[in-house]
C-alpha cells in the first residue's frame, strides 16, 4: 500500500425522494490506494449514495470532504473535475463510436478547433496498456466488442480523467469468472498507482479477493465499516439483513422411480452444445450449472423455444416435444422465467397486476372476451402477499421497482397456474440477498407441491443451495453430476476443468458419477 491517508470523507449524508427516505444517515470513508466494498440489499441506498458522490444527485444534508478540503458536488462534471469517476453497471458507451472516441467524449483533446486524434489515441493506448488490453482496441468500434471488453473500455474511460476515486457499480454482474479475474488484476494494478476504488457487488465471495474494507448499508443507513479480515460471507450477509440467517438445506424426498417429467435425451445443436442428457422428476429441483460460454444458456434457450435443437429429443411426461417459441413452450406446459427479465420478462410501464395476469388472460377473463378486473386484482394481491413483494399497491408500475421485487413479480406470473414444469434461467441475477432467499423458498415450495424444476444458473452457491441434483455443463455438454453433498470447490473444479484453455478436451472426471448415474 503506497499511502493510506483518507482521500474522501462523506459525513451524515441524507437524501429524500418525495416521501421516500432513500438515505437516512450515511458516512463513508475512502482511503488512498485502497478498495472499499459497499454492500447492502437492493434498496438499501447504495446507488443513491454513489449518485451523490458522482454528482448525479445532490444530498439534502451532510458534508463531503475531499483530500482534506470540504467540497460540494452538484454535477457530474464537478465530480469528474475532482477525479471521482464512475463505471456504471450497464456500460455507458456509444456503440457507433471508436473506443478512443468513447474514452474522450466530453473531454476531447483539442488542437485549434479540431480534435487532436493522434494525441487522444496515444493516451488511449497508454490506458489500454495499463488495463492490459491490446492497443488495437483504440480504433475499434465499441459496438463490435463483447460486453466484458466494453466494461474494460468503461474503466479506461473513467481513468482517462486522471481519476483518484474509481466507483465500480456491480462490475462483475455481467462478467464470467475468467473475466472477473482480469477485472481484479486491473483493480489491483490501479490501487498500486494510488487510485482509490469503491466496489459495489452482490457477489459477496468476491469481496474477500479484492476489498480492503467493507461498508455495509441497510435501510438507508451505513451500518458500519469493517476490515475485510474481520468478516466472513456469512457475517456480511447478517450485517446486510440485520439478523441471523439460518441455512435451510433440508433433505427433500423424491421418488426416484417416478416417471420423469422432463427428459433431455442426447440433445444437440451444432456449434452450441451436444449430447445433453438431463432428467427432472416431479418434485425435483435440478440445477444446470455452467460458466458463461459453456453452452448452458443455449440449452435453456432451446427449452424456451428461442432456438431449435438439431439432434436428440426433449420429452415432457414421456411425450416428445419441440418448442417453436416461448409461447409454444408455455402452451406445451413449460413455465418459463427468462434470464434477461428487463428485455424478455416484463412490461416495464405496466402495473404489477398487468404483469402477473399477462399470459393467463383466458383464465382471468370472462368468456374469453373481457378481463375480469376483480379477479385480476385479487390474484395480484394474493401473489404480492405470497411472494412478499414490497410495494404499496398492485397498480404500481413494475419498471419503478427494485430488481428483486421485479423478479418476484415476473416469477409470480408463472405461478398463477401451478406449473408441472418450471424452467428458470438465472432466477436471482442482480437480486439482493433477502429477495434471493425468498425466491429460493418459493421455488422449493413449488417443488414440494410436485412441480419439476430446472434451474439454469451460473451462480454456483445458488445452484448448490436449492438443487437436489446439480449437473455441470462444460464444453457444450452435460458432464458430471453432484448430489446434495457437493461442495463449491468440487463443482467449480468440474466446471472449470483441469485443462484450463480447452474446456472441451477433458472428459468427465473419474470417481464422480456420470450424467445418468445420479447421487440423489
Amino acid at each position: 500500500m503506497p499511502d493510506t491517508g483518507v482521500r474522501l470523507q462523506m459525513t451524515d449524508i441524507t437524501k429524500r425522494f418525495g416521501a421516500v427516505r432513500a438515505i437516512r444517515h450515511a458516512d463513508l470513508t475512502v482511503h488512498t490506494g485502497r478498495v472499499l466494498a459497499l454492500v447492502g440489499e437492493n434498496g438499501a441506498g447504495k446507488s443513491t449514495l454513489i449518485k451523490i458522490l458522482s454528482g448525479a444527485e445532490t444530498s439534502d444534508s451532510g458534508s463531503i470532504e475531499f483530500e482534506g478540503a470540504p467540497v460540494s458536488i452538484s454535477s457530474t462534471n464537478e465530480a469528474m473535475g475532482l477525479g471521482i469517476a464512475t463505471v456504471y453497471q450497464e456500460p455507458q458507451l456509444f456503440a457507433e463510436l471508436t473506443v478512443s472516441e468513447n474514452i474522450f467524449t466530453g473531454r476531447e483533446i483539442r488542437k485549434g478547433g479540431r480534435i487532436d486524434w493522434t494525441a487522444q489515441n496515444e493516451r488511449v493506448v497508454e490506458l489500454l496498456e495499463l488495463l492490459g488490453l491490446p492497443a488495437r482496441y483504440a480504433t475499434a468500434t465499441v459496438g463490435d466488442l463483447s460486453i466484458a471488453e466494453q466494461q474494460q473500455v468503461s474503466i479506461a474511460k473513467a481513468l482517462a480523467g486522471n481519476a483518484k476515486i474509481l466507483i465500480l457499480d456491480e462490475p462483475s454482474a455481467i462478467l464470467t469468472d475468467a473475466e472477473i479475474d482480469v477485472l481484479f488484476t486491473v483493480i489491483r494494478r490501479l490501487t498500486t498507482t494510488g487510485v482509490s476504488v469503491i466496489y459495489i457487488s452482490h457477489r459477496l465471495d468476491e469481496l474477500f479477493k479484492i476489498a480492503h474494507e467493507v461498508t455495509v448499508m441497510r435501510d438507508g443507513r451505513t451500518v458500519g465499516t469493517y476490515p475485510i479480515e474481520d468478516l466472513s460471507v456469512r457475517k456480511v450477509v447478517e450485517l446486510m439483513v440485520g439478523g441471523i440467517l439460518t441455512e435451510t438445506h433440508h433433505e427433500r424426498h423424491i421418488d426416484p422411480t417416478a416417471t420423469p417429467r422432463l427428459e433431455l435425451d442426447g440433445l444437440g445443436r451444432a456449434g452450441d452444445f451436444h449430447d445433453v442428457n438431463v432428467v427432472v422428476r416431479p418434485g425435483e429441483i435440478v440445477a444446470l450449472y455452467g460458466l458463461i460460454g459453456s453452452g448452458v444458456s443455449e440449452i435453456a434457450a432451446t427449452l424456451y423455444g428461442i432456438e431449435r435443437a438439431d439432434v436428440g429429443e426433449i420429452r415432457l411426461d414421456g411425450k416428445r416435444i419441440s418448442p417453436r417459441s416461448p409461447g409454444h413452450a408455455q402452451r406445451l406446459g413449460i413455465a418459463l422465467l427468462p434470464a434477461n427479465r428487463k428485455l424478455q420478462g416484463m412490461f416495464s410501464f405496466q402495473s404489477i397486476a398487468f404483469n402477473i395476469s399477462a399470459g393467463h388472460l383466458p383464465l382471468l377473463s370472462k368468456g374469453n372476451l373481457w378481463m375480469d378486473r376483480g379477479r385480476e386484482r385479487s390474484v395480484a394481491r394474493d401473489m404480492i402477499k405470497r411472494l412478499a413483494v414490497k410495494t404499496p399497491s398492485e397498480r404500481q408500475a413494475i419498471g419503478a421497482m427494485s430488481g428483486g421485487n421485479a423478479q418476484k413479480v415476473v416469477l409470480a406470473r408463472q405461478l398463477v397456474e401451478r406449473p408441472g414444469l418450471l424452467v428458470l434461467a438465472e432466477p436471482t441475477q442482480g437480486v439482493d440477498v433477502g429477495a434471493k432467499e425468498e425466491i429460493h423458498k418459493i421455488i422449493t415450495e413449488l417443488a414440494d407441491e410436485g412441480t419439476a424444476v430446472l434451474v439454469v444458473t451460473s451462480d454456483l452457491p445458488e445452484a448448490l443451495r436449492i438443487s437436489d441434483r446439480l449437473q455441470v455443463v462444460r464444453g457444450g455438454t452435460t458432464t458430471v453430476e453432484f448430489g446434495r453433498d457437493a461442495t463449491q470447490v468440487d463443482v467449480l473444479a468440474a466446471a472449470a476443468g483441469d485443462v484450463d484453455n480447452d474446456p472441451a478436451a477433458a472428459p468427465a472426471a473419474p470417481g464422480v458419477s456420470s450424467t445418468e448415474g445420479g447421487q440423489a
Binding site: A95, G106, E108, R114, V125, E129, G132, P134, A135
Partner: protein, 342 residues
C-alpha cells in the same frame, strides 16, 4: 459466442508502434456510400444509353438544381437523425419562408441579400421553436414536429391568403435554374450546397461539438454523464435545420415566377428519404452528410430518369420506396449481426 477477454498485448513499445501507424479514425467513406456511388454511376450509364438526352447539360443542370434544396436541408436533418430525433416540419417551414420571400419580392421589391437573410432568419426562428420544445420539453421529436408542422402550415396558408403568388421578379435568378444561376455550368444552388456540406462533414467528423451529436444519438444519458451539453446540442440541430430550410426556400422561390400553395408539401419526406438512403441510422448514433447528398442524388436521378424514359411518374415513388426499405433493412441486418456476434 464466447466472450473471452483477449490476452494482454505484448511489450508496451511494440503495441504503441502499431497504433501510431494504424489508422486513427474510421474510414472517411462508408461502405454504404461506396455502394450508393456505384448505384448512381450505373444508373447514369444506363440512362445515358437509354435516353441520349440524359447526359446533356440541359438535363443534368436541373437535376442538380433539384437536388440542392433537398440536400441542403438534408445536412440539418442528418444531424437531427444522428442525435436520434426527426423533424417532419421542414416542409411547412419551407412554405412559410417561401411565401414570405415571394410576396415581398413582388410587393416590397426586396433585394437578394434581404430575401436571403429574412428567409434564413424566419427558418431559424421556426427551427428554434422546434428545438426548444424538443430539447427542454422532453417530448419525442416526431410528436413535437408533427404538431409544429400543422401550425406552421396554417401560418403559411394564412400568409398565402388563398391565392397563388404570381409574377415574382427574377431577383433571385442567381440561385435559380436559368443562365444567371450558373457559373461554368454548375448551378449556384448546388455549389452552395456542396460547400456547406463539406463544412458540415468536416465539423461532424473532426470537432468535439460534431462528435457530441453522435454521442447523444448513441446514448443520451451516457452523453450527459460524460459532460456533453445534450439539450444545447439537440436545440442546435433543430435550429440548424430551420436555418437551412430558410436557405432552401430561396432556392425553391428562385426556380419559377409563380409560387403555389402546395410549396414545401412532402419535402420533409423527400429529405428524410435522402438521409436514410444515405446510410444515416434512423436509430441515431451513426450517419454522414456525404451519404445524404448521395441519397438526394439517387432519388433525383430516379425521378428524372423515370420522367425522361416516359414511364409513369408513380414508378419513381415505387423505386424510392424500395431504396428506403433496402437502406433501413441493411441497417437492421448490420445491427442484428453485431448482436449475434456477442
Amino acid at each position: 459466442m464466447t466472450t473471452q477477454i483477449a490476452p494482454p498485448a505484448g511489450g508496451p513499445g511494440e503495441s504503441r508502434e502499431v497504433s501510431s501507424r494504424s489508422r486513427v479514425l474510421p474510414s472517411p467513406i462508408t461502405g454504404q456510400e461506396i455502394v450508393l456511388i456505384g448505384v448512381i454511376a450505373v444508373l447514369w450509364v444506363i440512362l445515358a444509353f437509354a435516353t441520349p438526352a440524359f447526359m446533356t447539360a440541359g438535363s443534368i443542370q436541373p437535376l442538380l438544381g433539384a437536388v440542392a434544396p433537398i440536400a441542403v436541408i438534408g445536412i440539418g436533418m442528418t444531424v437531427i437523425i444522428i442525435t436520434g430525433g426527426i423533424d417532419v416540419s421542414v416542409g411547412a417551414i419551407i412554405m412559410v419562408c417561401a411565401v414570405i420571400v415571394a410576396k415581398n419580392l413582388v410587393s416590397a421589391g426586396w433585394s437578394l441579400p434581404v430575401a436571403l437573410l429574412v428567409s434564413i432568419a424566419v427558418g431559424g426562428l421556426l427551427g428554434l421553436i422546434n428545438g426548444v420544445l424538443i430539447a427542454y420539453g422532453r417530448v419525442h421529436a416526431i410528436i413535437i414536429t408533427f404538431g409544429t408542422a400543422n401550425i406552421f402550415q396554417w401560418l403559411g396558408l394564412k400568409i398565402f391568403n388563398s391565392t397563388t403568388v404570381n409574377s415574382i421578379p427574377d431577383t433571385l435568378a442567381t440561385l435559380g435554374n436559368g443562365e444567371q444561376g450558373r457559373t461554368w455550368g454548375v448551378p449556384h444552388a448546388f455549389a452552395i450546397t456542396v460547400i456547406l456540406l463539406a463544412i458540415a462533414w468536416w465539423y461532424l467528423r473532426h470537432t468535439a461539438g460534431g462528435r457530441h451529436f453522435f454521442a447523444i444519438g448513441g446514448d443520451a444519458q451516457a452523453a450527459r454523464l460524460a459532460g456533453v451539453r445534450v439539450q444545447r446540442r439537440v436545440l442546435l440541430a433543430y435550429l440548424l435545420t430551420g436555418l437551412l430550410a430558410g436557405l432552401a426556400s430561396c432556392f425553391i422561390v428562385a426556380q419559377g415566377s409563380n409560387l403555389g400553395q402546395n410549396v414545401g408539401t412532402g419535402k420533409e419526406l423527400a429529405v428524410i428519404a435522402a438521409v436514410v438512403i444515405g446510410g444515416t441510422s434512423i436509430m441515431g448514433g451513426r450517419g454522414s452528410v456525404l451519404g445524404t447528398l448521395l441519397g438526394a442524388l439517387l432519388v433525383q436521378t430516379v425521378t428524372s430518369g423515370v420522367t425522361q424514359l416516359g414511364w409513369p411518374s408513380q414508378l419513381s415513388d415505387l423505386f424510392v420506396g424500395v431504396a428506403i426499405i433496402v437502406a433501413v433493412g441493411t441497417d437492421l441486418i448490420r445491427e442484428r449481426a453485431r448482436r449475434a456476434r456477442r
